[in-house]
Amino acid sequence: MTSVLYDAQGPRAKRRNLLYTAVFLAALAAVLWWVYTQLNDKGQLDWALWKPFTTSEAWSTYIWPGLKNTLKAAALSMVIALPLGAVLGIARLSDHAWIRIPAAIVVEFFRAIPVLVLMIFGLALFAKYTNVSSDDRPLYAVVTGLVLYNASVLAEIVRAGILALPKGQSEAAMAIGLRKGQVMRLILLPQSVTAMLPALVSQLVVIVKDTAIGGAVLTFPDLLASANTMIGYYGNTIASFTVVAVIFIALNFSLTTFAGWLEGRLRRSKKSTGAVVGVEMIEDLETVGHAPPGPGSDIKE
């Protein structure tokens, strides 16, 4: 393995790297050993605490219902937030300032606020002004918080998706006499959907991770909350956290990999315009202020 940052390794460099490897390995081993002895001292490695995960009871009573709720909240949020985000994103590209500016304010406002604040607001809102039963309220609150936040993030993805399309697309559409609405509906939007698929899948990872906030603070019975219940029942803190973390990692890692695969496929594709809103955009969109709307962002601004 070579890199532009260091030279091809001669005998001395190889020896030195071997030394670094040994030192690092020793440090890593020391940490792991310390963790192991700590866990062992507290009896957290006893087979009795890990055994429940080999039985179907733990999975069918705790993990699967929790995972189902996590996925349900994430899917609902995505499905509700997507049309809202599309409307907001298109509104931000409007030629009329009285549509564009309010949409921009709404988007920037909700991106500046933590999801948890929106969820707490949602919970109190449903408790006060609706007759949603108190069992359903956490789900409603979690979905409300996630929708408010993610609609504004998706708005930026939609905007970037539309702006990423080559200028010739809208020019050609206008040249054959389509009206502005038709250009958007028939030409730009269908193509941008493909372009933003990778970004949408990556945003799903963010949504799945954020449902856990509801599980910890709003008593939403998600995967994390089910870990909490298992800890109360089996007394296996470390084991439960490990299993739940592994499930989250597996789920999110496969979503991330899928998004990367989609992106690569779209970039290689000869049928489309090759416009892609990449996975890396998601991290920039986590936050306010900086919207890097891809190439050609100067088209309409």
Partner: protein
């Protein structure tokens, strides 16, 4: 001063209105809660900047084991919800393994655990932002540095990282703003920050919309200037190529 019917001045009316509108704030330490949010943000930001830089150095370095460790750390941590990490620091590290980070009262322990959790999580994103920054440094810079005989650590420390940091200000700002918002997750282990106070207030007081607006405004005040100021700084310090 103009008089209103019933011997009320504008000033007294204003005071009355204040009392009605802001009555619900009585007895709550709003500024204290947001100060805790700021403290969590700053401490975790400092910690994750250091640990994130080390992780980035490992990921671009010549030692395969360190590269592997850096990659594994980033991929694992980024795919776990922050809430799981924060809750684990309390239930796992503190209550099961009796790690208290040198504090003895419940409040301080949970605050420090929250900083630890936020740092562990945010470093992965700092590492990725820096790695992207390193990629913007032209190949010729590192090549020239190697040509004059600098070692890997020298290349990184003297030539590449200073330029990488300058172009990473934008992405790092995004990470900082995300961190500010993420500190609310510390509510899961009872740290008395803004979201914890908001939850208490909406449960006890009747004025939902004013309370929610105040907290929303608080976060807008914290995040918006950060974005604007550091965005300007980022443009200022960016290496012109």
């Amino acid at each position: 001063m103009r008089r209103l019917p019933g011997r009320r001045t504008w000033a007294s009316l204003h005071a009355e209105a204040r009392e009605i509108v802001f009555d619900f704030l009585e007895g709550y330490d709003l500024l204290g809660a947001f100060w805790t949010t700021v403290q969590l943000t700053l401490l975790a930001a400092a910690g994750s900047l250091v640990w994130g830089t080390l992780l980035a150095a490992m990921r671009v370095g010549p030692v395969p084991l360190m590269r592997g460790f850096g990659t594994a750390y980033v991929n694992i941590v980024r795919n776990i919800p922050l809430t799981v990490i924060i809750l684990f620091t309390s239930l796992g590290l503190n209550q099961t393994l009796s790690i208290s980070l040198g504090a003895d009262d419940f409040k301080t322990i949970n605050f420090r655990l929250a900083v630890l959790g936020l740092t562990a999580y945010t470093s992965a994103f700092v590492c990725e932002a820096l790695r992207a920054g390193i990629n913007t440094v032209p190949v010729g810079q590192a090549e020239a540095a190697r040509a004059i005989g600098l070692s890997f650590t020298q290349v990184l420390r003297l030539v590449v990282l200073p330029q990488a940091f300058r172009s990473a200000v934008g992405p790092l700002t995004n990470v900082l703003i995300a961190l500010t918002k993420n500190t609310t997750v510390a509510a899961a282990i009872g740290v008395a920050e803004a979201a914890t106070l908001m939850k208490t207030m909406v449960e006890k007081e009747a004025q939902l919309i004013p309370i929610a607006s105040i907290f929303a405004l608080g976060f807008v005040i914290l995040t918006l200037p950060t974005g604007l100021i550091l965005g300007w700084v980022g443009k200022k310090v960016a290496v012109k190529r």
